[in-house]
Amino acid sequence: MDTSKSNKKKAAEEDLLLPKKPFRTHGGVHIDHMKNTAETESEEIPTPKKVIISMQQHIGAACEPIVKKGDTVTVGQLIANSESFMCAPIHSGVSGVVTNIGTIIMPNGAEIKTIEIESDGRQTICPDIEPPVVTNADELYAAVRKSGLVGLGGAGFPVSIKLNFSPEKHVDTLVINGAECEPYLTADYREMMEFPEDIIEGTRFVMETLELKRAIIGIEGNKPAAIKRLDEIIRERSLDDRMCVLKLGTSYPHGAEKVLIKACTNRAVPVGKIPADAGCVVLNITSVSFIAKYVRTGMPLVSKRITVDGSAIETPKNVIAPIGTMISDIAEFCGGFKQEPKKVLMGGPMMGTALYTLDYPIIKQNNGLIFMGEKEADDVKPSDCIRCGRCVAACPMLLTPVNIQHLVEKRDVQGLNDLCVMSCMECGCCGFSCPARRPLVQYLRMAKSIVRSGR
């Protein structure tokens, strides 16, 4: 009895050590990194003449505008909010006049309200802005909620919710996502190179405020300079007993939340559960850096660094732009196009959304704008599945896309449930590796919607 108890205790202690090397993950694929913009300083775009701010900039309930046509707004001023739990308020990134409360059709077909603001170019800061007072977890939750922060890795989950877990979950580990495993994207990398102190300060602050035992910053091995820099700062600040930088493998998708938790802590998030159920809080590396800046200045999330790249753009670079800047303005700032763009992606090439127009504003969780030329956007027609099993070997969640596609065509709800399609995170490994170019991610999305609707 005693030995088993002490064994258990020992195991628990070991579970909380800082890892020296990453733990094994399942599946994944190797993709050309194409981080062309890694070594160029981010550039701030001149204040755009007009911004269109979407009311849906996060997963959850849409916001409602609290300004009306003709109102004057300032930088950092709250312009839209919602009472809903799953929500992040929206602030203006420019100072100027609200010219319209309009609508826009999102890439998924839904119509959403927008606030159009004509900028006065003066960028007057909102007088209400003051640094928040944060001494405990509840205050941190309130402050992050007020800041409008959403997960900056791409999914746009309101960060305040991630920080709001019940004590029964026994959360002990803060995992910082610096994997940035998508090809092209270097926005997080630039944050690491330009504001490494903020990243470490934000990580320390969140860890200590939430009373977590350790923090693990996972960064893919293709960013040695960032790993070295952050590691140095941790040592300088003598935080290395609670905090570490973990060099991850370079296979995609190491930045997927569940894969990252496995690589950093060897824990698996139970199917259908959240990271807190595996004792972890996962924050994007730019998100923690933002938290450090917010606590210092009180300026809410009003601008975003975006990697602009792809074969069609003249000068690929990282652009810092106010939320709501039009994509066409950003393209112009990057020297325009050297060939006509055939496909424009919001996000990275593996999980990004293809846009139907350049007349579309950026939103908070955008981290990439990829302009693909004719050749790069090649849309090859799918051929017959040859059951090679590459999709099965590539799936980080251990699913079988090859069989799921057939069940989708039959609309077999029970069968799809048995194959646990809801575990799919749409990372795209199956579609990437399919020699027959089957639209497997699309099948998986349909599978999930069939299971959700029950028919």
Binding site: D172, V271, K343, P349, L355, I386, N403, E426
Partner: protein, 325 residues
């Protein structure tokens, strides 16, 4: 909207993610399989002469032509450019005795493509390996022609007529207890047998190529060959002779690994490979036939969907024990 570039109607293409691709396609994979078959094909021509070359070309051409005609008749998109019919043709030729009358080879090729492959929906839809099904069809229909073997280099003996020197395969010899073929002859293929199955060395080279090119995974060949060796050991026979003779090498590397008819998951592939080995040895040790690789693979082909269901991996995170609090 005034900043819109004038006179350029932007027609952007939209599609589901991912927007990048590995660049692989079915034709590349089939080409790799064909390349991997080249060493064994060359050795078959060395050992069995022009007849071997003729059978390989004939089967391949007939298979491709049959596929073309079938797709035309069925009004489906053309699939001959994916090279899968060519692979079936070469593999079928590899499974024929060198002296076989070409008419039977043509018959087998048409059966493989028209009946086994296209009638079930074409590539990816057949439930058994087309080349093996055609071999079994020929074996049952024309047993004597399909089991008359000739010695390597028979074409050099001057006895150039169809009346060739006939021999028995090493397995038949072993079953009757007459002679044992030296190990080195088995390895380099100096013995009677089907066109492509005799030279284990050439097949291994092809297999290594497929593994390096990641066309196949090692699970099926290792499980298949390992099981054959273990059962031979238990039965008190020479495991190396069993592995090197008959169709085990050809079957384990090229036939059992056919994507369409083998399980897609690793565990399933191991189970399937072991099943092939057990059935092969059961037929060899207890059956009335000296050889059982084709039957064992075809039987396991039929079991593939069930193996897949039973070995289905549970998704990541479905059996979680957290060690610490």
């Amino acid at each position: 909207m005034e900043n819109n570039t004038p006179n350029t109607p932007q027609m952007l293409s939209v599609s589901s993610s991912p927007h990048r691709h590995s660049g692989e396609n079915t034709a590349y994979i089939m080409q790799d399989v064909l390349i991997a078959l080249v060493p064994a094909a060359l050795m078959s021509v060395v050992y069995f002469g022009w007849r071997a070359a003729m059978l390989i070309v004939l089967c391949t051409a007939t298979c491709v032509l049959t596929e073309y005609v079938c797709r035309r008749v069925m009004k489906r998109h053309q699939t001959i450019s994916d090279f899968s019919a060519a692979v079936t043709g070469v593999l079928l030729a590899f499974n024929l005795p060198p002296t076989l009358n070409p008419v039977f080879a043509v018959l087998g090729s048409v059966f493989a493509i028209a009946v086994v492959k296209q009638m079930f929906g074409g590539i990816g839809m057949n439930f058994v390996n087309p080349a093996l099904a055609a071999r079994i069809f020929l074996l049952i229909s024309f047993p004597s022609q399909m089991s008359s073997w000739s010695l390597p280099f028979f074409y050099l003996s001057g006895n150039a007529s169809t009346d060739v020197v006939s021999t028995a395969t090493p397995l038949a010899q072993m079953a009757s207890g007459s002679v044992t073929t030296p190990m080195i002859d088995l390895f380099i293929g100096l013995h009677g047998g089907c066109l492509g199955e005799t030279c284990a060395l050439a097949l291994l080279i092809g297999g290594m190529y497929l593994l390096l090119r990641k066309v196949i995974t090692p699970h099926i060949p290792l499980a298949f060959i390992g099981t054959v060796a273990v059962i031979a050991l238990i039965a008190g026979q020479n495991p190396i002779t069993h592995v090197l003779s008959g169709g085990v090498m050809l079957g384990a590397i090229f036939m059992a690994t056919d994507y369409t008819t083998c399980p897609v998951n690793k565990t399933g592939r191991v189970v399937y490979g072991i099943g092939c080995g057990i059935l092969t040895m059961t037929i060899r040790l207890f059956g009335s036939l000296p050889e059982g690789v084709s039957y064992s693979i075809v039987l396991m082909n039929i079991l593939t969907p069930h193996i897949e269901t039973l070995t289905q991996s549970s998704p990541f995170g479905s059996e979680v024990q957290r060690s610490g609090k």
